[in-house]
């Protein structure tokens, strides 16, 4: 254990110039040595690549009802030449729909996480920087929001805004705001009494400088980890909303919607429900593993 730490320290000294040797590059080094992180990264990469290259990977147009003629009530044709996973209840190629579905999930995941993150950082930052009454008001609001189950809030918001992809993204973002706000605020409060803050005050730095260039950078670690994990929950939440019919209404393939459509055929073609489930699990698992590994890499207590 000790030896490893020493090597680390020495490596840090030598690589100081090129990589900066800061906390992030050190965390990255630790991340690369963690098999869980590698697995997470591979899954995420797979997911992202599929989303980007879906038009080239998909054998058919996901919207075209190619085998509609063979679909009977309660029956759809199984896999065959050119349709390796079969077709859905409207005769559309299941594989193509799965591949294209990754685009929606990735889009919702990224947009709603970034939106929630930026709003959360703003509110949490204000609460952490000003404290006192500002903090009190903002935190009571987040308490209120956190006391209602997230999915319930998301459903309500989507219903109010009208079912669409944009509504889903906004709803999930709003659900995530208080989580990020609270996390940054708590993390900032923990830093406020740190020695280096006292030292920064002792050289006469202004409060703005201390907050922006000292406290905030030290508080971001847990927020970044949470953002990675939130990508996973956002994907799941988006699927849930679509499953309930609150997602896009234009027939664009979406995993939650595919799952909902497959319900009627559970007796005859259960596989149609199985595929989107697997896709959702793989995408979410990738981000979760990566997030957990990042948490370990950034936490000094986990250092090996």
């Amino acid at each position: 254990m000790t030896t490893a730490t020493q090597v680390d320290a020495a490596g840090g000294v030598f690589s100081g110039d090129e990589s900066g040797g800061g906390r992030w590059s050190e965390a990255f080094r630790r991340l690369r040595r963690n098999p869980v992180a590698i697995l997470g990264a591979v899954l995420v990469l797979l997911f992202v690549l599929v989303a980007i290259f879906a038009p080239w990977l998909a054998p058919h147009d996901p919207q075209e009802q190619l085998l509609l003629g063979e679909v009977r009530p309660g029956f759809v044709p199984g896999p065959r030449e050119g349709f390796p996973l079969g077709v859905d209840s409207l005769g559309r190629d299941e594989l193509s729909r799965l591949l294209y579905g990754s685009r929606q999930s990735l889009l919702v995941g990224i947009v709603s996480t970034l939106l929630g993150l930026s709003l959360g950082l703003l509110l949490g930052g204000l609460a952490g920087a000003f404290g006192g009454r500002v903090d009190n008001v903002l935190m009571r609001v987040t308490d209120l929001m956190l006391s209602i189950p997230g999915l319930l809030t998301a459903i309500t918001i989507t219903v109010i805004l009208g079912p669409s992809l944009t509504s889903v993204m906004i709803a999930i973002a709003i659900v995530n705001v208080p989580i990020f706000a609270r996390l940054l605020r708590g993390s900032m409060l923990a830093q406020r009494d740190a020695d280096y803050v006292l030292a920064a005050r002792s050289i006469g730095l202004r409060r703005r400088t201390i907050v922006l260039s000292h406290i905030v950078p030290n508080s971001l670690g847990p927020v970044i980890v949470q953002a990675t994990l939130t990508l996973a929950t956002s994907i799941i939440d988006a699927a849930a909303l679509s499953f309930l019919g609150l997602g896009n209404q234009d027939g664009t393939p979406e995993w939650g919607q595919m799952l909902a459509e497959a319900q009627d055929l559970l007796g005859t073609r259960a596989a149609l429900a199985f595929y989107p489930c697997i896709a959702i699990v793989i995408a979410a698992l990738g981000f979760t593993l990566l997030g957990e590994a990042l948490r370990e890499a950034l936490d000094p207590k986990f250092r090996r």
Binding site: A9, G16, G21, G22, Y196, A199, A200, I203, G204, T209
Partner: protein
């Protein structure tokens, strides 16, 4: 008038549901430019709180600061917050005990040094970088350009403390408060850091307040010494008087608990019995009485005053007699 005059300083910490704590009580002293004042005492004697009070770094809520602190003719206590902020880092600066925790772990050394320069000397960009490199060089950090790009964890303990000193002296402050600057360092590094501080005081004419529990540090560096116990000064004297002729039982106790080369083999160390928490309230007794070998009846009932007596001031009902003091202080002790 001295550069820094502290008059009857008191700090009371109050918290809801707890009894108030008088961390510092009736502390008065002054420091001139180019002079070094040592403040000695055990943990909890109020040394650090005194320095934070002078710097105006105590929390506004929960800490009531009384008395008067005059710096270069200006009253520091009650000064507007932004005015005080303009002084801090520029005219009065502070060095902290643990250089690792006093540096921001995620910000490169260079940016932490240039921040002071930007704040008080209006330097930016290349100018600030060059000046920062010059400062690191001044405090004896080799290869300053490379070090500026590095992070605190990549520097050794001694180098971190040097970097902190560079930040503190960046604007050539008139007063430097060093709060146990060598406690967290190796003995060999301690000597280097003390030498560096000594040099700065000599060259720049900086007034230095050196807070420490290490009498060896005091012996090497300070012109005058305040010995504090439980928030009050119990003995104040110039260095020579304090070491050769210590009169307060607490001072002799501190001196007696240092291992000495010239003592007979097998001679026991003489630690002060009890712990700093065994105190009586100063308001109706001598706080040191429960641990004092010379305590009398009067020590538990009457507050001793800090009485000036020639080259020293002493707060004791039953001071150590001169002959005994000489035995503890001893001519043989290095100064």
């Amino acid at each position: 008038m001295s550069l820094l005059e502290v008059e009857d300083l008191s700090v009371v910490f109050s918290r809801r549901g707890r009894r108030d704590v008088r961390a510092v009580d009736g502390v008065s002293f002054s420091v001139d430019a180019g002079q070094t004042l040592g403040v000695v005492g055990e943990s909890g004697s109020g040394k650090s709180v005194t320095s934070l009070a002078i710097m105006g770094l105590l929390p506004r809520r929960g800490a009531a600061v009384g008395g008067e602190v005059t710096f270069g003719g200006r009253k520091l206590l009650g000064m507007r917050r932004d005015e005080l902020r303009d002084l801090r880092g520029k005219e009065l600066a502070m060095i902290f005990q643990d250089p690792l925790s006093a540096l921001n772990p995620v910000v490169p050394i260079g940016r932490q040094v240039t921040e002071v320069l930007t704040r008080h000397r209006g330097m930016t960009g290349t100018d600030a970088r060059r000046e920062a490199a010059r400062l690191l060089d001044l405090v004896g950090i080799p290869d300053p350009d490379r070090r500026l790009r590095e992070y605190p964890h990549q520097l050794s303990g001694g180098m971190r403390q040097r970097a902190l000193i560079a930040m503190a002296v960046a604007c050539q402050p008139k007063l430097l408060i060093a709060d146990e600057p060598t406690t967290a360092l190796d003995v060999t590094i301690q000597a280097q850091i003390l030498e560096l501080l000594k040099e700065l005081v000599r060259q720049e004419g900086t007034a230095l307040v050196l807070i420490t529990h290490d009498l060896g540090v005091v012996a090497g560096l300070c012109d005058r010494v305040n010995v504090m116990y439980s928030g009050r000064i119990v003995e104040a004297a110039d260095r020579r008087t304090l070491f050769v002729d210590p009169r307060h039982p607490y001072t002799t106790g501190l001196l007696g608990s240092i291992p000495r080369l010239d003592s007979a083999e097998g001679a026991p160390l003489l630690p002060i019995p009890g712990s700093p928490t065994d105190t009586l309230p100063w308001s109706s007794a001598c706080a040191f009485a429960p641990r004092c070998a010379r305590s009398l009846e009067v020590c538990t009932t009457v507050t001793p005053d800090l009485e000036p007596d020639g080259r020293r001031a002493l707060r004791c009902h039953n001071p150590v007699p001169a002959e005994e003091a000489a035995a503890v202080g001893a001519e043989g002790r290095r100064e």
